[in-house]
């Protein structure tokens, strides 16, 4: 393990295996892990039942606790934090991948309608085959997300308007799909319907350990995926011709990476519902922390996304102690102003291209 200087004079940590990491990215990563841990501790302490990390320590030491405390810690708060972090990680990483693939800094699985597509197919499944096993839900979500992605690509082929038209097209698809969900909600039985509309707005209310085990493989998949795609995504940013010149097999790697991005986003949708704006917000915030590219950008975005969801969850529980303010709502309340700022920054950079 040595510290070297990169070509631009920045310090780089070089492992014995040949893996190199920029120190600035490493510091940003450590900061984010620290922030996520702090927020998780806060999140464990916040709530109706008076309990917290110290009780968790007692529990680990083998002491007996009251039933209410154990329930609050193990069955409510821990699953919420874990599910929230994993979902945020996946959505943010999918957003970062889409931004590189579409060469559009405003790409987002929610704004492009991918999450809505996953949602509609899940609802169709639940409405038509209520007895279907739960394990196929992520696959259904994946099918829906892919369908929307293909439709979007087909609709905007030959886009030449600086990438804003693709956003409008995504919003159009989203409108159509959300009215479809509105119709579907009518057909599901009242109880399912209520649960669905809760989940439609993005909610951690239903987080439990079974859900976490079901989500875990997809989350785990994102780590090798980031290692494989990270380097290629950097060359995509230079344009297709340049990427091919750099040895990137664009014709097959582009669809594969799109598949991975949709996979991550639909797994998150299946777990907590759509988190619109997170996919565009997290990579930009990560970029402010440390202007990383490639793999580092993916990992930093994922960490930022997870941290943001934990923070938003604390916020929803603090602000609305007795009413379930949905996570998706609070994310869009934060997300829209940040998105406008991102637009503004983009305008400063690319005003001549429009």
């Amino acid at each position: 393990m040595k510290i070297r200087r990169a070509l631009d004079g920045k310090s780089v940590l070089r492992l014995r295996t040949g893996l190199e990491m920029r120190l600035s990215n490493l510091w940003a990563c450590l900061f984010l892990v620290f922030a996520a841990t702090t927020l998780a501790v806060m999140s464990i302490n916040v709530g109706f039942t008076r309990t917290g990390v110290s009780d968790l320590g007692h529990l680990a030491a083998g002491e007996r606790l009251g039933g209410a405390e154990v329930f609050a810690l193990l069955d409510v708060r821990m699953p919420r934090i874990l599910t929230g972090f994993m979902a945020g990680w996946c959505v943010a990483m999918a957003g970062a991948m889409l931004q590189a693939l579409a060469r559009n800094p405003l790409a987002d699985p929610g704004l492009f309608g991918l999450s809505q597509g996953s949602m509609v197919t899940i609802m169709v499944l639940l409405a038509l085959f209520p007895t279907a096993p739960r394990s196929i839900i992520p696959l259904t979500a994946l099918a829906g997300g892919l369908l929307v992605a293909l439709t979007l690509i087909w609709l905007v082929r030959g886009d030449r308007s600086g990438g804003l038209a693709i956003l409008l097209m995504g919003i159009a698809i989203e409108t159509v799909l959300s009215s479809v969900t509105g119709i579907l909600i009518l057909y599901t039985p009242a109880e399912t319907s209520y649960a669905l509309s809760d989940w439609l707005a993005g909610s951690l209310f239903r987080a439990d350990w079974n859900g976490i085990w079901a989500f875990m493989p997809w989350f785990a998949l994102s780590i090798p995926a980031a290692f494989v795609t990270g380097r290629a995504l950097r060359s995509f940013g230079l344009g297709d011709d340049m990427a091919m010149a750099l040895g990137e097999p664009v014709p097959w790697s582009r669809p594969t990476f799109l598949f991975v991005a949709v996979l991550l986003s639909s797994a998150a949708v299946a777990a907590v519902g759509p988190l619109i704006f997170l996919g565009v917000m997290a990579p930009h915030l990560a970029g402010i922390l440390s202007p990383a590219t490639g793999r580092a950008r993916l990992f930093l975005s994922g960490l930022t996304g997870g941290t943001l969801v934990i923070a938003a969850d604390i916020l929803t529980r603090l602000v609305a102690a007795d009413v379930p303010l949905q996570l998706g709502l609070s994310l869009s309340l934060i997300g829209v102003p940040l998105f406008i700022i991102a637009l503004r920054l983009r305008a400063l950079r690319t005003i001549s291209n429009l």
């Binding site: 804003l164 919003i171 159009a172 959300s178 119709i183 709502l329 309340l333 829209v336 503004r344």
Partner: protein, 337 residues
């Protein structure tokens, strides 16, 4: 534009047909004679008369009002902003009005009358915040004005999610507002129509009166100015009228989207850009479109009744996608004036 008069006549004919159909067709069909009898000699003891007079007639009137107002608003907005995607929905007017109504009811506990006036203020607020975002984003020089629509969409999302978040604070009031917030035609809202119809009517009258100077402005601002039109004054008056009338429609039945986007595109190929003809045509066609959407909402998913707003969103989203495709993504796109 030789098709102007035929189009107007056909549109009016279709309108009367749909109006009559929406009064007579339903879960309990009422023959045409009975519908006419309801208006000529109302019999309080007749069940069919009661259905037509207390349920279908108010519902149809609301549809006509909302359709006419929204379509005219969309027509004027599309002309003045020179953007095929402009409409009260896409420029944040509807969502601003909706948010203000929810705030009025949930935060200040105002009565229905006051909520309506808050909706008017909210419509103006939504429109101005959309313009403010365009300015903040700093892309107002973009010749194709995509940013205007993008800002409107963002403002819409922001305000609607704020309204939704507020709704959660009171579960009991929430159930009253949830249907309204998706845009719903309902005979229960007839009282509000009675309160606010004059707002939309006078705004439409104002727009009809301004039709000639507005047409001149659409042809070219400098030309209009040289023909003696006070461009800034006429434009701001027209925008005010549009926002206020759309706000009154939102106050009645919620943010019923996309009539204002679709109808001008149906009307324009036949009638042209002159507001003198396109405004009346839009009003009639918009009313017909709303009645038809209401029809679909009532029957397509029987025995359930869907909210009309859902149907309009479905059609509107498709048309929105088509417009983006047609005007922004086609090879020879961008030739819209």
């Amino acid at each position: 534009m030789r098709q102007r008069w035929p189009f107007l006549i056909i549109a009016f004919f279709l309108f009367s047909l749909t109006l009559l159909a929406s009064l007579s067709v339903g879960a309990k069909p009422v023959p045409f004679e009975t519908v006419f009898l309801t208006f000529t000699s109302f019999d309080t003891n007749d069940y069919a008369h009661a259905i037509v007079w207390y349920q279908r007639w108010p519902r149809a009137l609301i549809a006509v009002y909302v359709g006419a107002v929204m379509a005219c608003a969309g027509c004027v907005l599309q002309g003045l902003t020179r953007n095929p995607l402009s409409s009260p929905t896409t420029l944040g007017i509807n969502s601003g009005a909706a948010m203000f109504v929810v705030i009025a009811s949930f935060v200040f506990g105002m009565n229905e009358q006051a909520q309506g006036y808050m909706a008017l203020a909210g419509a103006l607020f939504g429109f101005f915040s959309c313009l403010l975002v365009v300015r903040l984003v700093g892309l107002s020089q973009d010749p194709r004005r995509l940013v205007l629509i993008l800002s409107g969409a963002l403002i819409g999302m922001l305000y609607l999610s704020a309204a939704n978040a507020l709704l959660l604070s009171d579960p009991e009031l929430r159930s009253n507002f949830l249907g309204w917030l998706t845009g719903n035609l309902n005979h229960a809202y007839a009282g509000r129509l009675f309160d606010y119809w004059w707002i939309g009517a006078s705004a439409l009258a104002l727009l009809f009166g301004l039709a000639r100077p507005l047409t001149l402005i659409v042809i070219g601002e400098e030309k209009a100015a040289s023909a003696g039109v006070n461009v800034v004054f006429v434009c701001s008056l027209a925008f005010m009228a549009v926002a206020v009338s759309a706000g009154s429609a939102v106050a009645i039945c919620g943010p019923l989207g996309f009539v204002g986007l679709i109808v001008p595109h149906i009307v324009r190929p036949f009638v042209g850009t002159s507001f003198i003809f396109s405004l009346p045509a839009c009003a009639v066609t918009g009313a017909t479109a709303c009645l038809l959407a209401d029809f679909v909402a009532r029957f397509a998913f029987a025995p359930y009744v869907v909210h009309t707003g859902v149907i309009l969103d479905l059609v509107g989203g498709l048309v929105f996608a088509w417009i983006v495709k047609r005007y922004y993504l086609a090879r020879n796109a961008g030739s819209w004036t």
